[in-house]
């Protein structure tokens, strides 16, 4: 992928966005009040701010930083599942539940190994000594209490990868010894999709819907909030739960509008959630 070519193309951002917003006028064609027209006039600024947030990162375009960040979270998850499997509550869990946790732990170990190799290949610094705080783990005095944390870790992981995807866009392929040639963004998204499958399964184990629709028992937690919360029902500047928003004669429910899209968390938001869990 030609990076200079992408920078060149990025210069077209503004005109393209303006075209899109102009045609969006049709959506508001039925609106007549001054107040609503004012809302339309201010839309470009709002949308621009929205998307810059969606692609925010601590150091945009720095693959070393993104992969070190990802490795930190994967190490935390891996250690959490290690502790879960070693805990006295694990052997009392149903066989199928044990199998699922073993499977997920195996993937987290694979993610750790892959990310370590990627960081070696690109000359990044590998975080070490990232473990789930034992004192915190000790407060989880049942298998179901542990599953609660597992759900939060997985759903947060999905949002964390999503929040850094923009930082990897357009980065050149990397040759990783013992792995092969990977595209940094595609590889991160492949891991992210596996995290989403983990999240869906753990949610099912907890009798929750596989998707985040606002009705979950943990949906009030900070893990589902942030600058762009999971409760978001506006996409690309369009309020999906307004009548006729994207489909004539149709009003979508907030529950379905939320569940159809997983939102990002910024690195700052994720680290605020994860850091208290990291320790000896």
């Amino acid at each position: 992928m030609n990076f200079l070519h992408i920078i060149d193309q990025l210069s077209a951002v503004d005109s393209d966005a303006l075209d899109r917003l102009d045609t969006r006028r049709s959506v508001f064609s039925s609106l007549t009040t001054v107040a609503k027209r004012t809302a339309l006039a201010s839309a470009p600024a709002l949308i621009a701010s929205y998307f810059s947030k969606a692609y925010a990162g601590t150091s945009a375009g720095d693959a070393k930083d993104v992969f070190a960040y990802a490795l930190t979270l994967e190490l935390l998850e891996e250690d959490f599942y290690k502790k879960m499997i070693a805990s006295p509550y694990f052997s009392g869990a149903p066989t199928a539940a044990q199998g699922a946790i073993n499977q997920i732990k195996k993937h987290e170990t694979s993610h750790v190994a892959l990310l370590q190799k990627v960081l070696d290949a690109i000359g990044g610094t590998k975080p070490t000594n990232i473990t789930f705080k034992s004192a915190t783990f000790a407060t989880l005095t049942s298998f179901s209490a542990q599953l609660t944390i597992a759900q939060l870790l997985e759903d947060t992981g999905v949002r964390a990868y999503k929040g850094r995807a923009g930082d990897l866009l357009g980065l050149a392929d990397v040759t990783v010894p013992n792995v092969g040639t990977i595209n940094p963004l595609q590889s991160a998204l492949q891991i992210h999709s596996v995290e989403a499958r983990h999240a869906a399964h753990i949610r099912t184990m907890r009798m929750q819907s596989s998707w985040i629709n606002g009705n979950g028992d943990l949906d009030g937690m900070d893990h589902y909030k942030g600058a762009i919360p999971e409760s978001t029902t506006t996409q690309s500047g369009v309020n999906l739960i307004a009548a006729n928003s994207i489909t004539p004669n149709t009003t979508y429910t907030a529950k379905d509008a939320q569940a159809s899209f997983d939102e990002i968390l910024t690195a700052t938001e994720v680290l605020a959630l994860a850091t208290p869990l990291i320790g000896a």
Binding site: A54, H111, Q186, S193, H201, S209, F261
Partner: protein, 240 residues
């Protein structure tokens, strides 16, 4: 489980209502002519094949591609919701209602990205995802069909997103937000068909990455169901 209540308003719009893909064989041929424009060879126009559809080049082609996948999903899930096999449990029917709802939102959102006015016919009026090759009269058949399609679409997204190379931040962002929902859907369907198979080794590689499918692989897999229409992904960004 879900407290989903069936909303008639959610029903799939008939394909004739808001239809897509205006790129016909004629315009595909003109693209070929432009591509050949640096030579002085006289090209004899070939008769347009009304069933030949080419995805546009660039980012709109990628959105069209995602739109067609969402169309396939909505068609399948709507059918299951309309005519569930008798052995599909109440809880499973609720999951399918959710799948249908989410994919309708995805399809309509993608259609909106392609044409905010809704005035453009995006695909021919008789274009459809044909379900006759699936066995939708039994639970096992329904779940097998759903798993095939859900896994296919989930595998498409990690490849699709990096292909956005231009300024289409809104499109990219929307598709990114859909991608993990596709993964959740596929996991949910797999767990219904075979509990615990949410991320088996047939969909996850040894490095813990989701196995992917290119646009060419996805459209080849979907081709029998879109027939007699034939969809070309040749104009999409490489690798396709």
């Amino acid at each position: 489980m879900s407290d989903h209540s069936f909303l008639p308003a959610w029903r799939e719009q008939s394909l004739g209502r808001r239809v897509f893909l205006r790129v016909s064989a004629a315009s595909a041929a003109s693209v070929a002519l432009i591509a050949a424009g640096c030579t002085d060879t006289t090209t004899t126009p070939t008769p347009a094949d009304p069933y030949q559809l080419a995805l546009p080049a660039g980012d709109s082609g990628l959105v069209y591609y995602a739109y067609l996948m969402a169309l396939a999903q909505t068609t399948l899930y709507q059918k299951v919701v309309d005519a569930p096999p008798t052995d599909l449990t109440t809880a499973e029917r609720a999951v399918f209602a959710d799948l249908r709802d989410h994919e309708v939102v995805h399809k309509q959102t993608l259609g909106y990205l392609l044409d905010t006015t809704g005035a453009t016919q995006l695909v021919p009026t008789d274009f459809a995802f044909n379900l006759t090759k699936f066995t939708l009269s039994t639970r096992a058949g329904v779940l097998a069909a759903a798993q095939q399609i859900a896994d296919l679409v989930a595998a498409a997204y990690p490849v699709l997103l990096p292909l956005f190379t231009t300024s289409s931040v809104p499109q990219r962002t929307i598709l990114l937000k859909m991608s993990s929902v596709q993964a959740r859907q596929a996991a949910a369907v797999r767990d219904m068909l075979m509990p615990g198979s949410f991320a088996n080794s047939d969909v996850v590689d040894s490095a813990g990455q989701l196995l992917t499918k290119t646009p060419t692989e996805v459209m080849t897999a979907l081709a029998p169901y879109f027939a007699p229409y034939v969809i070309s992904v040749a104009s999409l960004a490489v690798p396709v």
